[in-house]
Amino acid sequence: MQLPFFYSFKSEWLKTRHSLSSWLTICGAFFIPLIVLFQRFYYAADSAAVNASSRVWQQLYTDNWEYMAVLLLPMGVILVSSLITQLEVKNNAWKLVHSTPQKLHIIFSAKLAVILVMLLQFFVLFNIGICLTALIPAVFNRHIPFPRQAFPMMAYLRGSGQFFIACLPIVALQYLLSLQFRNFLVPVGAGLGLLTASIIAVKWKYGYIIPYIYGTLKFIGKQPAAALYTLPLSYFCGFTIASWLLYYYKKQKD
């Protein structure tokens, strides 16, 4: 069971080579840090003060996540989750995948695992990007000191982990939609619609029931306790099970 999954995952990962989804993951991860970096060079005096302060890492974490959490991260997740299955649709390759000697649950879980690993890859690169926004100005501008504060590894890991969990319902629902609809616009349109609804509903008392809202709630830090882990993980499990059943019982697998 484990070996077929490993080979299937490896095969799925090979397909992402030079693909739009992998470029989107890499470029998306460095997009905000790059803007912040330019900003820090431009306002060098402010950057010097921030690097010298004892809250440099918190400040950079907030600066970077501010733009990422509410809009760009969910949008990226919507696009990447849909693009992974679109690789098969666009290349007319579902029939190829389904005529290889792989059990259906292996195919399903390997594809989902690729999306999750890409999401992890995004978080790693994004955090590297944040670190570089602190270090690069200090390397190239002698008036900006290197950060005085030690890098708060655990705090960054915890924060990224919580954002990762906040993204899981989006991954699962987008995966479900993209497995069911061949037209790329359906999952992407539905995803962007739900994301817009979640941004509008952020002040609503019961906004936390919307599965796409958890990244925003995590960033503004006003979510009920259940919205941190329980609700997103429950949505993820629920959507994944529904997605698997719909995929398994699909009459036409080509």
Binding site: S11, L14, K95, Q102, Q252
Partner: protein, 307 residues
């Protein structure tokens, strides 16, 4: 419990029936029998049910009625093990257009876990060993088709299922494809099930024929038997008086009709032709010529689907 399975058949379907939602029956009781080591030409006009049959055989469509066995084993219960021995190309080639030929093969090599060296072997076999980093999306249709064939051969399958593999190929590409398929059948003993609506191609390639029309399998046997078993070749007679000759033939109970200044007779034996000739001469009619029309697969095919 279903217990069919004639071991001499590489692939066998029994009472295979399929209906698309809200439509008439797409397949009606298909008994497909593909012998080991054969090149089985699965013929039929567009929309006859060829692709639907092949998709059911590969599990790409959910089976509604009937049984499918490959190498003597029921497909549903042994899907993964059987697919390991099958290479398939259904309709247009499935290639990852952003990957090179080698990378496309790597995707499958990882799943089949065959030696890496095999990638080079199949690329050479189909003449794509020098495509380098060129993306499959930039290939010509012929190259795409050849790469798709390479992908089906990568894991050394015992059964190859090809749905219209010559679609879109130029005449040279068609000849190359035919020679390649003949060679792998002859040299590696791979059974090939190939669907097509190109009758001359199948005639030159297949050892066995199945003819499907409107979801029904009309004929299935060797190509030789097909040519023998269908009605005798139509016979053309040229005379100096076709009207009188036609009356005489009809009086003899012969199915004949005037066509382009000749008389065309259907279903007459050699002995009957000699008798008719004598009677025409005795009736004072000059017989200029009697000859059987060449009965090729196309004529046989048209006979079958029209009657």
């Amino acid at each position: 419990m279903y217990k069919p399975v004639h071991m001499s058949f590489c692939l066998e379907t029994t009472k295979l029936t399929y209906r698309f939602t809200g439509q008439e029956t797409a397949l009606d009781n298909i008994h497909l029998q593909v012998p080991h080591g054969s090149i089985y030409g699965f013929l039929g006009p567009n929309g006859a049910g060829k692709t639907t049959t092949l998709k059911l055989v590969l599990g790409l469509l959910k089976k509604q009625q009937g049984h499918i066995t490959i190498f003597g084993k029921p497909f549903e219960q042994h899907r993964v093990a059987l697919l390991r021995q099958v290479g398939a190309l259904i309709e247009s080639p499935s290639l990852y257009s952003h990957l090179s030929a080698r990378e496309n093969l790597q995707v499958l090599q990882t799943i089949y876990r065959c030696p890496t060296q095999r990638i080079h072997e199949v690329l050479q076999l189909v003449g794509l060993a020098n495509t380098g980093h060129k993306k499959a999306g930039q290939f010509s249709l012929g190259m795409k088709q050849r790469l798709a064939i390479a992908m089906t051969l990568l894991h050394r399958p015992a059964l190859l299922i090809l749905d219209e593999p010559t679609n879109g190929l130029d005449p040279n590409g068609i000849i190359e494809m035919r020679e390649l398929l003949k060679a792998i059948n002859r040299e590696q003993g791979i059974t090939i099930l190939i669907s097509s609506h190109l009758l001359p191609e199948i005639e030159k390639l297949a050892t066995h024929i199945g003819i499907i029309h409107k979801g029904k399998l009309l004929f299935q046997d060797t190509l030789e038997t097909l040519m023998r078993s269908t009605q005798q070749a139509p016979v053309l007679i040229s005379t100096n008086n076709n009207t009188q000759s036609l009356q005489l033939l009809q009086a003899q109970g012969v199915h004949a009709a005037a066509e382009n200044g000749h008389l065309l007779m259907q279903g007459v034996s050699k002995e009957k032709i000699a008798l008719i000739n004598r009677q025409l001469v005795l009736a004072g009619i000059d017989v200029y010529g009697i000859h059987a029309q060449h009965h090729d697969l196309e004529a046989t095919f048209m006979d079958l689907i029209n009657h």
